[in-house]
Amino acid sequence: MAAPADPAVLQVLALRAVAHRSIRRFFEERDFVEVETPAIVPSPGLDVHLAAFEVRNPKGEPAGWLATSPEYQMKRLLSAGAERIFQLGRSYRADEHGRHHEREFTMLEWYRADSTSDDVIRDTEELVAFVANALTEKGELSPFSVPWQRLTVDEALQVHGDVALDAVIHDEERFFRVWAEEVQPRLGNERPVIVTDWPSSMASLARLKPNGMADRFEAFFRGVELCNGFGELTDAAEQRRRFERDQADRQAAGAPVYPIDERFLDDLERGMPESGGNALGVDRLLMLLLGADSIQAVMPFPEERL
């Protein structure tokens, strides 16, 4: 005999299916190819504040890490000649628990060759409107007008944190404290905002712009970070220098020092087209579009219900 239906779970399943279908339709209409890259990778990403789950084989020997994002492998596909690719899959992060964090979450990542971060920002605005429209057919909400508001990091700090970037740029902890306490909670309260021009020390895998700032953007809506995108760094030597600096920073911070993905650097060396890419948290997008107060509310199996 079947158990009584759980309408809350069924609703989550239905809404996620609508969102996933509309994301796939959006990219297929724009000639993107859906790709899959491995969950277990030789390097999980070197950003200092990332923690990865280590994988071991049955003998208890190290066998890699769960990917914190599919970035390296997707960029290797660009080097292999893929021009427009997207992936709707899982990423894994240790030590992240909260209303907007799960150790395992759904990440949408896409890359377009011969494109800039502006092209990817436009993709983002259109995609969110597209998914919002798809969900509206279920009678939930109204989409936002585009383009979204634009702010530089410096402007965001001055408007919401009452401090200039210059005053906090050399004290990373202070920067992130002001950002977390004062700035981010006030970003995108009416409609989403795109924050650009991150300091070069926070460039990650973004190239630098002629003004010396990182070609990196993030979108925020109702104080929640929705995505992080780059005009991609294609200079293998500069990428290696950043990886080595990240490794040194991790060592200094007492964090595990993950290896450099040499095959990624080899492919970068062989040549990757000038590209734009973005990584967007699908659970957060659903949460924001549906007016939920946590990503757990839009997941069938958050960790707490496993």
Binding site: D47, H49, L50, D95, E96, H97, G98, R99, H100, H101, E172, E173, F175, F176, R177, W179, A180, E181, Q184, W198, M202, S204, E218, E225, N228
Partner: protein
């Protein structure tokens, strides 16, 4: 020693020697940056609520607090005496410490007393108490309107706003969280 991963609602920590209880908390990790735990915490001595942000992983000192259910016995000078019904241990709290809660104590009322390092620092009365009205202007016969109110003094000297039909000698149900009249209790 505890750290920020122990933070949850009701977690009690010591900051500069003062016990604080977590009212609300949120893990935040901006972009590719340092993770923090933003908290709203309540000073258990004064009741004041403040915001405090901790670096994720920061060490925290757990506050040595304990909540015990005790029975109210009697007044003694400017204080009130309570007894642990299991150990028969007696403690007293000053009227000043008790604040408005002093008005919810009747013989035998069971309350939760918060102890910090063995010393009582606060009391939580039952959510609802029933008190006799000792004094109020006489009600008007047949007037059951609840749009207008009048003050009534109860047996514990609590003064509440009550509907006009309430009379001296009536028993009232009071919400101790707000100090408001809820209803007249049928005798």
């Amino acid at each position: 020693m505890a750290d920020t991963s122990d933070i949850k609602k009701g977690f009690k920590m010591l900051i500069d020697g003062v016990p604080f209880a977590v009212v609300d908390h949120q893990f935040v990790k901006p972009g590719k940056g340092q993770a923090f735990v933003r908290t709203r915490i309540k000073n258990m001595m004064t009741g004041a609520v403040i915001d405090r942000t901790f670096k994720s992983g920061e060490k925290l000192e757990k506050a040595d607090t304990e909540e015990r259910t005790m029975q109210y016995l009697y007044p003694e000078g400017d204080a009130r005496v309570f007894m642990d019904t299991r150990s028969y241990e007696q403690i007293s709290l000053s009227n000043e410490q008790l604040g408005d809660n002093v008005h919810y104590l009747l013989d035998g009322t069971e309350v939760d007393i918060m102890l910090f390092e063995g010393r009582p620092i606060g009391v939580t009365p039952p959510t609802f108490v029933e008190l006799l009205v000792t004094e109020t202007e006489p009600g008007f016969k047949g007037d059951t309107s609840s749009n207008t109110t009048k003050p009534a003094t109860c047996e514990t000297d609590l003064v509440v706003n009550v509907p006009l039909f309430v009379n001296a000698g009536d028993k009232l149900k009071i919400d101790t969280r707000t100090g408001d009249y809820v209803e007249r209790v049928k005798r």
